[in-house]
């Protein structure tokens, strides 16, 4: 037996320094998760709460999970009889509102040791896909084409109207709270007075197609996020669909001026990726993040005035949702494999 020569200690490989970030205070060229939180069932949604204490996920086993960002502790929250994709929080984050594919809204005391439903309302006939909170009002949109406005404290319905002739994919209060916005499966955006009067509507053609071979509509606004100053909204979805039923298409973000009712710019990945943009977030530091799932997972960072991204990151698996923390310093990505990963951006 010969003794192996001890190898000279390898020089630690100098990691290539991350490319300089064009956004001051943010390090977007490199991305490393600060937390990996694993649940047993595939995830469909994730949200940071406004206080930054928690991250809430929703999964294919009809449950919600509250994760403590401090110690990664998970608390299961059962109450829905279907999947949940819509979540909203009261201003301080005391109450979580979850809207399920069972058409039900549940209010949860978020900071309780074991949150139990404190109130629930049957809100829509069919899936609830989106909710928003502002000034004590809770807004929801569902597959019944309706937009509902209710008292957030009591969940009592105050107003509802048939807003779309197909599934409502997104609802939001305008950043100043003065208007209500909704968007649907066919990529149409509508702007409403709080009393349900239509102000304007406009299409986002890139985010919808009727697939003639499968005879089905494909598209819709899967996620949206307002510009920090309010007049623009970034809408995410799938475009260039050549086969709706195999999901052959590309992720796309469309920036629209909702006051003018027109499309301003399309943000596209430089390299073709097959999938859907499931999450978009407009950061107050002046960049837009998009997360996609399909043929794997991807994350991109754009400058809002440039069609192609500044940085692209391959994600370990299919992303299904993305959330940005209230301070803009972190994002969380919910994965099909059942994990939510938290990525710090500031640094």
């Amino acid at each position: 037996m010969t003794q192996e020569k001890p190898k000279p200690p390898e020089k630690p490989k100098a990691e290539a320094p991350p490319p300089p970030s064009p956004i001051a205070g943010f390090q977007l060229g490199a991305l490393k998760p600060s937390a990996e939180l694993k649940h047993g069932s595939p995830l469909v949604a994730c949200r940071f709460d406004p206080s930054g204490k928690w991250i809430i996920t929703a999964s294919q086993d009809n449950a919600l999970q509250r994760w403590s960002l401090a110690d990664s502790k998970k608390t299961d929250m059962a109450g829905h009889s279907s999947w949940v994709r819509a979540m909203a929080f009261s201003t301080g984050g005391e109450t979580l509102y979850s809207g399920g594919y069972d058409g039900t809204i549940i209010a949860w005391p978020l900071d309780a040791g074991q949150p139990e439903p404190i109130r629930q309302a049957r809100a829509h006939d069919g899936w609830i896909r989106s909710m928003a909170f502002h000034g004590g009002k809770l807004l929801s949109g569902g597959n019944d084409g309706k937009v509902c406005l209710r008292n957030a404290a009591t969940l009592a319905e105050e107003r509802q109207w048939l807003a779309h002739d197909c599934h409502v994919y997104q609802v939001a209060f305008s950043p100043d709270g003065g208007k209500i916005l909704s968007a649907d499966h066919k990529g149409r955006v509508k702007v409403w007075e709080p009393d349900g009067k239509l102000v304007r509507e406009f299409p986002i053609p890139g985010l919808h197609k009727y697939d003639t071979s499968f005879r089905a509509d494909i598209g819709g606004v899967r996620s949206w996020s307002f510009s920090p100053d309010g007049p623009l909204v970034a809408c995410a979805g799938i475009t260039n669909v050549s086969n709706a039923f195999a999901g052959v298409g590309n992720p796309l973000i469309v920036i629209a001026d909702w006051n003018a009712g027109k499309v301003v710019r399309e943000l596209k990945p430089k390299e073709a990726f097959q999938g859907t943009m499931w999450g978009v977030a407009w950061n107050k530091a002046g960049f837009i993040t998009g997360a996609a799932g399909g043929n794997g997972g991807m994350l991109w960072f754009w400058k809002p005035d440039q069609a192609n991204e500044m940085f692209a990151h391959k994600l370990p698996e299919n992303a299904r949702d993305m959330s940005q923390s209230a301070d803009g310093g972190k994002i969380a990505v919910a994965y099909q494999g059942g994990t939510v990963r938290v990525y710090p951006l500031a640094g």
Binding site: N62, S82, R215, A244, F245, G247, G294
Partner: protein, 421 residues
């Protein structure tokens, strides 16, 4: 270089021409040719959910299971039987339908699965089998039936006839495509031709034929003169295609979309004397966004289908119409990364009802996650034997081609007695 195996091709062994030659020579024998059912007005409506409908989103929901997806199960008109919440209207008709939940066809290819569900057989190198529609056209239709025996209402489609579907039964029993619910090409008499004049010119044609054929009638001349009569009857029946004639409320109930119009047309065609109508609803091949697309598809299917069953019942036609809701296979219990479900033939379901079927029956069971059949597994051979029994036909009866006996249905599959009236 890849070798093309002719053995795998449908044209193998029994060419159309050889078979027709055999027919002409009288080699096709046996009582199967007789149409004992012709006078009883039995008929078949086959709804084909193309692409592979999900059994979990229809007849065999698994709410709460990891494979269950987001939909809940709802009670039906039969206590204890639940279906997916995407079928709220159909749930009210379950007492008129039987569910077969233990199907294993062991074929995940679209073309081959479709062949199995249309013929009751796996593809074989030695013989090409006829579609159920062709069998019904041959065995159930009255010879004087005014409409082609096998009509196929489909989105898109050729608008022509397909003799290949009839295999050895002969081209007369092939399918005639009713493309997008529109009548066959050239159905309208030329503008200048009144129907009175058309009657007259046909009377002259018939007189010429009777003179000529008095001394020379053959099967071929008969087939030729017969198509003229069929065409005339089709022209006379063209109003059947005008679904706009239906009362507004019923039309609304069927739905103002393609599938609604096509099912309404199917009912009109059946009422007008068609022995077999297939309606295709497309498409269910949801490898991506299975749940969203099933909401859309079932949103069309559910109300239309429930209306159709109710309408057939109200008209007294349901008890003599065998209704089948089939697909080429089911979909994977496993939900893939794109919210899709893929092809799954090992454990899936169909629904049937009407003529000869016990309403409210459920046969077969899958395991908790829906991945395997755990009770009363059946394949397409069983299904075809069941269809035959429901129609009062003997599944074991044989066709003879070149002295070779061919059982009408796969002898390996017996009828599912539990759902037969």
């Amino acid at each position: 270089m890849g070798v093309v195996r002719l053995c795998g091709s449908p044209e193998h062994a029994m060419s159309r021409r050889a078979v027709l030659g055999a027919l002409g020579a009288g080699a096709f024998t046996g009582g199967a040719l007789a149409n004992p059912l012709a006078m009883q007005n039995k008929r078949v409506l086959m709804i084909f959910l193309a692409g592979g409908v999900s059994q979990l989103e229809t007849w065999d929901p698994k709410p709460g299971a990891p494979t269950g997806g987001p939909f809940r199960a709802i009670p039906t008109s039969v206590p204890g039987t639940h279906v997916c919440e995407l079928l709220p209207c159909t749930a009210g008709q379950i007492h008129r339908l039987a569910l077969v939940r233990g199907i294993n066809t062991a074929e995940d290819d679209h073309g081959k699965g479709s062949y199995i569900m249309h013929t009751g057989r796996r593809q074989e190198p030695s013989v090409n089998y006829p579609h159920l529609g062709s069998l019904v056209a041959k065995m159930v239709a009255a010879p004087e039936n005014p409409l082609p025996g096998y009509l196929h209402v489909e989105p898109g489609g050729s608008g022509g006839s397909s003799s290949a579907d009839a295999a050895f039964l002969g081209p007369k029993f092939g399918s005639v495509s009713i493309s997008d619910g529109k009548p066959p090409a050239n159905i309208d008499l030329p503008g200048t031709l009144t129907s009175g004049r058309d009657d007259m010119r046909h009377a002259m044609r018939r007189k010429a034929d009777s003179r000529f054929l008095a001394s020379r009638n053959t099967a071929e001349t008969e087939a030729y003169t017969q198509t003229h009569e069929q065409a005339r009857q089709m022209i006379a029946k063209k109003k059947l295609f005008d679904t706009a004639n239906e009362p507004g409320k019923l039309g609304d109930s069927y739905g103002r979309h393609d599938f609604g119009r096509h099912c309404l047309l199917a009912r009109r065609l059946l009422e007008g004397g068609a022995p077999f109508v297939k309606v295709t609803h497309t498409n269910y091949d949801t490898h991506h966004e299975n749940f969203d697309f099933h909401i859309e598809r079932m949103g069309e299917f559910d109300r239309t289908f429930a209306t159709l069953i109710e309408d057939l019942h109200q008209r007294g036609m349901l008890s003599s119409t065998l209704v089948l809701v089939v697909s080429e296979f089911g979909r994977t219990p496993n939900i893939n990364r794109n919210y899709g479900r893929d092809h799954w033939s090992k454990a899936w379901s169909i629904a049937l009802g009407g003529q000869g079927v016990v309403g409210g029956a459920v046969v077969g069971k899958t395991n908790a996650t829906g991945t395997a059949v755990v009770d009363r597994q059946v394949n397409a051979g069983h299904l075809f034997a069941t269809y035959f029994r429901a129609l009062g036909l003997d599944p074991a009866k044989k066709h003879y081609i070149d002295q070779r006996p061919i059982p009408m249905t796969d002898p390996a599959g017996s009828a599912i007695g539990e759902i037969l009236a």
